[in-house]
């Protein structure tokens, strides 16, 4: 019985990976906002995550969060908490939930939801100031979120 369940779970994960993971509206958040499984179905790449974290046109996380491990990245923000050691006191599941939609963990937080596509007020088309046309893409892809989480997990005291 256990073996069967494991086999089924294995098939499910493989299927999710083939279907490009979990769509933003389908993500299941735990009671405290954590997300158990990879959103893309694949593992994150910490080096790619570091780039997404630091680059204005990508995640731009550094706009609000400072990280000592990125001495080459100027103008680190202070709107959100500094993230040194966050990989030590948060699990990957918690960090995945916070990056995807931090409001599920911290009610009312200023932090934007990076893997969300509905429920917005006057959604725009990028930074044009015009209304969004057609389906909205999340700010980060499922794999982008996984990469950022992998990078955050490298931040150990």
């Amino acid at each position: 019985m256990k073996l069967t369940a494991l086999t089924l779970a294995g098939v499910f994960v493989a299927g999710a990976a083939l279907a490009n993971g979990v769509a933003p509206d389908e993500v299941t958040y735990g009671e405290y906002g954590a997300v158990e499984a990879s959103l893309s179905g694949a593992e994150g790449n910490a080096d790619k995550g570091r780039e997404i974290f630091s680059t204005k046109s990508m995640g731009n996380c550094v706009s609000c969060h400072a990280v000592s491990a990125l001495p080459d990245v100027p103008f680190q923000g202070e709107v959100g908490p500094m993230l040194d050691g966050v990989g030590g006191y948060r699990s990957a599941e918690e960090l995945r939930g916070i990056v995807a939609n931090a409001k599920m963990t911290f009610e009312g937080t200023v932090m934007p939801a990076f893997y969300k596509t509905s429920g917005f007020i006057r959604p725009g088309n990028g930074y044009t100031g015009k209304a969004a046309e057609g389906p909205i893409d999340p700010i980060l892809s499922a794999q982008d979120v996984e990469d950022v989480v992998a990078f955050l997990m490298t931040l150990q005291d």
Binding site: G77, V79, I121, R122
Partner: protein, 284 residues
């Protein structure tokens, strides 16, 4: 910062260093042309209870070089546009062959006007910004074409009218017939727009004093508008700034002169009640 004060400031540095590291408002004093002291910090109006204790001009969140530009009219690039506004003030236009000066005299006669706008207009039954009132004059008294909202000529004139009210406290009315627009503006201020789900308050109430990338967040006060921005090297109106801010939340923004921005201007101006008019200011 005045150079005489630097020694005292240096002596204080050990005490204030932790605060400076946190990026808060500085303690400098804004005196324009070595003569006119501007109230740049004031107790918050009662309607801000539970939101802000003190209201602070954006001047305090800028570096010393930028602050200094506003302390002398010869160094303030915004005053070039005030000069253009004076030319416009005296220019006869329209079917009635009148200028602003024909009815109002010198621009200095308008001292205090900017401080109470936006303002309810009983006859029109609406809250009007200063630019709306200027265009009412142009269309109905001068027989001239209205100016485009927040564009060159209108901003120049608003800057002129602000400049003659410098040093007078902002005091916009929020009750009575203005209350409806004020409530609408307040609701907008706390609405989290766009894909980034940010409200005005997310940055300018909850995070003023903090850095967001290289930008030092202020309280978003508009007592210094129109403001000359080093970033785009021109005078900027409050509505243009509102438009840009909401756009930057990845939202469908609103247009300058729209009823939404008129309401928001009334509300944001009221958050600065008690601060002195300081336009045209100089900012990043």
């Amino acid at each position: 910062m005045i150079f005489r004060m630097m020694t005292a400031a240096a002596a204080m540095l050990a005490l204030t260093a932790p605060m400076l590291a946190a990026g808060g408002a500085d303690d400098d004093t804004l005196i324009i042309n070595e003569d006119l002291e501007i109230t740049t910090k004031a107790a918050a109006a009662p309607h801000l209870d539970g939101h802000l204790d003190e209201v602070i001009s954006g001047w305090h969140f800028r570096d010393d070089d930028t602050q200094a530009m506003e302390m002398d009219d010869f160094d303030n690039p915004g005053m070039i546009f005030v000069d253009q506004g004076i030319d416009q003030w005296n220019a006869v236009e329209g079917s009635e062959e009148k200028s602003c000066a024909s009815c109002h005299g010198d621009p200095e006669e308008m001292a205090g006007v900017k401080a109470v706008y936006p303002k309810w207009n009983e006859e029109a039954g609406e809250v009007r910004t200063l630019q709306m009132q200027m265009n009412d004059c142009r269309e109905n008294r001068m027989g001239a074409e209205p100016w485009k909202y927040d564009a060159g000529a209108a901003i120049n004139m608003e800057a002129l009218l602000a400049s003659v009210s410098r040093g007078m406290p902002v005091n916009v009315a929020i009750d009575g017939p203005a209350a409806e627009a004020w409530e609408m503006g307040k609701e907008m201020y706390y609405t989290r727009y766009g894909l980034l789900e940010l409200s005005c308050a997310s940055c300018h109430e909850q995070n003023y004093g903090n850095y967001i990338r290289a930008d030092h967040l202020s309280q978003g006060q508009i007592n210094g508008f129109p403001t000359y921005r080093l970033k785009n090297a021109k005078l900027n109106g409050a509505h243009g700034r509102f438009k840009g801010c909401i756009r930057d939340t990845r939202a469908e923004t609103f247009s300058p002169g729209s009823p939404e921005f008129v309401a928001l201007e009334l509300y944001v101006a009221s958050r600065g009640n008690g601060l002195d008019v300081e336009g045209p200011s100089v900012r990043n």
